[in-house]
Subunit: 429 residues, 2 copies
């Protein structure tokens, strides 16, 4: 980890800059895959599955029997853990629903907003070394609570052609209707355009590698929505002399183990703490199964020493981290000044991994500074808010003159007429 002691504010942007990847070549490949799947449907999906996942699939869909039988492969301890996580995710996300409120804005003018679930939702779950079944819960449970009618899931098959049973078990628990064994940009294309086997969806969620990320961005130009733009995962830890070096080190490492491109930032006003943390990191990393990834990520990561809380808060708001751990005195009041972050973990006993799995908050969060304008996944991500209005004849007489005056000023005669024709008709009666 590189240590920067009391850098000037004008150096901050350089210190906080994320790596920018040159994705032009990947973009070309993704474009080719998208148009191939659009034209050739299932045949293209099978071809790419053979090319990238190493085998030619007879069927692209997991059968209901396989879905049901996945449960047998999950041990009881994990089942109990998943049940607790699912319950907390459900409780927290249900609390985000709001009753419909009818508002009388002017006499006779009634307006309201109605939450309507997005009908067709597609989830993407990456393959890779470990099965990300927790993301299945984080996306599937709110989609079910929202009332989305069709929830499908795509995930690349392992070399035996199957999907890890923990993913299938979590999918069934979350109420996902159908699961398909396809991955990569081809999975995104299939959900965006639809094929004979894969239904077209209106919004696509979930993390993925650069191919998946770029495919998701491209399909937004063709009428399909996505959860949010995605980059490598990040944590910032804000720590003072009340923080426990061993805890801070464990948190930095749990971010770093995600992969060599993970972004890890420690911000502190206390130099001795920082040196204790560095020592702890070196000690703890030895026992990690993914220690080599973590070391690589830590090479690029930064420790920034600053004078006081005000500076630390400003720097963190400039950086807009995906995850923020606040291990300082008076953390409760200090976090009120946080304006840019995805999810915030308060105090010494709130590790990021709690929010990754069980606390109930969502772990699909904005990276790469997007926390300045995007929320993490929440109930709103699965809902559209349709507005309604109903005006009585008297109501229209009340607000009609204002509509007419504004339509005239915008030189829209027909807008004005739509009011006039109604008021005149009413007066005739």
């Amino acid at each position: 980890m590189q240590l920067f002691r009391f850098p000037d504010r004008n150096e901050w942007p350089k210190l906080l800059a994320r790596p920018v990847s040159d994705d032009e070549q990947i973009g070309k490949t993704v474009k080719r895959i998208l148009s191939d799947v659009k034209r050739n449907g299932d045949a293209a999906l099978k071809k790419y599955t053979e090319r990238y996942d190493g085998f030619y699939p007879e069927s692209l869909e997991i059968s209901h029997i396989e879905l049901e039988e996945a449960e047998k492969a999950i041990d009881e301890k994990l089942k109990k853990a998943i049940a607790l996580a699912a319950e907390n995710i459900e409780v927290f996300h249900r609390s985000q629903l709001h009753p419909r409120k009818k508002i009388i804005t002017s006499p006779g003018v009634e307006c309201w907003q109605k939450d309507v679930p997005i009908e067709k939702i597609g989830l993407y779950i990456p393959g890779g070394t470990a099965p990300l079944f927790s993301t299945v819960l984080m996306l599937g449970i709110p989609a079910r609570i929202a009332g989305c009618r069709e929830i499908i899931l795509c995930s690349p098959p392992r070399s035996d052609g199957n999907i890890h049973p923990a993913i299938l078990y979590s999918a069934r628990l979350a109420g996902i209707n159908r699961v398909f064994t396809i991955g990569g940009a081809q999975a995104i294309a299939a959900m965006a355009y639809g094929t004979k086997t894969i239904p077209r969806v209106y919004k696509i969620f979930g993390p993925g590698n650069q191919f998946v990320t770029i495919a998701k961005q491209m399909i937004t130009h063709y009428g399909v929505a996505i959860d949010m733009p995605a980059g490598p995962s990040e944590v910032a830890v804000m720590a003072d002399d009340t923080a426990e070096p061993a805890f801070v080190a464990a948190d930095l490492l749990s971010q770093a183990e995600h992969g060599p491109d993970s972004q890890v930032l420690l911000v502190s006003n206390n130099e001795p703490l920082v040196h204790h943390v560095i020592k702890e990191v070196e000690r703890q990393v030895k026992s990690l199964s993914r220690g080599q990834y973590a070391m690589k990520a830590l090479e690029n990561s930064r420790i920034i020493l600053l004078r006081d809380n005000a500076d630390m808060i400003d720097l963190i708001n400039d950086y807009a981290p995906e995850h923020l751990i606040v291990a300082v005195k008076d953390a409760d009041s200090l976090v009120e000044s946080i304006t840019n972050a995805g999810s915030v973990f308060i105090g010494n006993y709130t590790p990021e991994s709690a929010g990754d799995y069980v606390s109930g908050t969502n772990h699909t969060l904005p990276t790469h500074g997007y926390a300045k304008s995007y929320s993490g996944v929440n109930m709103d991500s699965f809902i559209k808010k349709i507005t309604f209005q109903k005006i009585s004849p008297d109501g229209l007489r009340n607000i009609g003159p204002a509509i007419i005056a504004m339509a005239e000023a915008e030189e829209l005669t027909a807008h004005k007429n739509a009011v006039l024709v109604r008021i005149q008709e009413k007066e005739k009666k």
Copy 2:
């Protein structure tokens, strides 16, 4: 208007298809403008203003004096109308704010969601024949209520170098801090990248021509959010024998007058009504100042006759109109079945123009079928929802085993350690 009588369901997609514009050439121009502004800042802005708006600006910013003096150019009747619109917009949008709720998901585990305004917001208001000051209110007022710290507005100058006083007056009323006389893709570029004069913003709102729309889409790849993708404006009217032909005709025309690419759709189960509406359209169009635009839009617009309410609702949900007027018997209960629409107008006395200006609902709405996955602009558009969690030592002991089990199954040892190191430390004490 073209009449389609009882088309088969498999013909619906063709009937409901929106025109797709080939924007490759525009895309190239926009890309050039974006990179020019990024590199050359204000100089590029002045160059494009001279090229596209016909004069070389000394200053790009409207002075505070000009902003204040705009009021003098607005007559009292219009001021009163704007005041009523502003009040209703404020009342309806304020009703969308929700108090913070702290949720205990497991004993000792407290989670909450906090609404935080997006700090820097940019609004784009097109120029053109008529001043769209109503859009200034629709975007500026919710941004102010949300608490956005910096709200700027860009709009192309008229030939005298100024912006219409109704836009300036509405901007000041909405609490917009700074107004700049730039338009087109160069305005979007300026707000996305920032220049010496124009501050960089985190999210850009507002309608525009194809150059503006494509520029907005492009800058989403560089970390700036936008309100929503945009296409030509649309209305669908659902009418049965209880509808008033003159009202329906006036509503179709008030959509059609927006321009030749406006999308107008009439859906009915009553053939006599349809013929009355056609006659009324022909009668009313003669008195319109923008009649020639309206006629052009109506040439491409469609009337679809269907057997019953169920078919009409299905077709409308397939189309997902920006605006939907429901002038049928039992409209109140029928609208509960509407799942895809931007804003819905219920009954014979609720014209679209009420929602365009005064009722209080927002008029920035999803077009081109995006209502299947996007909401119109609402308070959420100006807010990020940051999640927070605070876990007590006992709380971590409660959920710790579940975190550990899930981290193990996902093969993330450091995630597990972040819990273990805390529980063990606690036990030592």
